[in-house]
Symmetry: C2
């Protein structure tokens, strides 16, 4: 059966605070003089699934996201084929 690879980007929703991201932003601003105006830490997951076709593969990936990979209360996600 063919295999399909995807990249999943998971970001916290914009109303969720990100203290680690804020700290890194401050260090880049103050210690490295890099004018970063926004920095948000997220997760990325490279995933490969076996499926009959790309549509089927994409459904599996969304199912994995909704079931265990993403906390949809606090996070949003995007899937792209690679």
């Amino acid at each position: 059966m063919p295999k399909y690879q995807f990249m999943i980007d998971i970001q916290y929703k914009s109303n969720v605070r990100d203290p680690r991201g804020e700290t890194i932003k401050r260090v880049l601003n103050e210690e490295y003089q890099i004018p970063v105006t926004l920095l948000r830490l997220g997760k990325s997951i490279r995933i490969e699934v076996e499926a009959e076709n790309e549509d089927e593969a994409l459904k599996m990936v969304h199912s994995a996201c909704e079931r265990i990979l993403v906390n949809t209360v606090t996070e949003t996600y995007e899937v792209r084929r690679i």
Copy 2:
């Protein structure tokens, strides 16, 4: 000064083990019957910088990656404009 946003994908190099990713893959296979053949956990960072032009902005982002965001011994990264 204009602002430019980028997404940074950070993945462990393929010779670095990823036990958390392996566990998630196994759970998806065995408990959810999703035929995942590969799963690697990485990080993604949304970043915005102020710069005179896009070239300058991209240089700042690479500088931030090399200096503190990425451990280039164990990780690789990709930057894309969003």
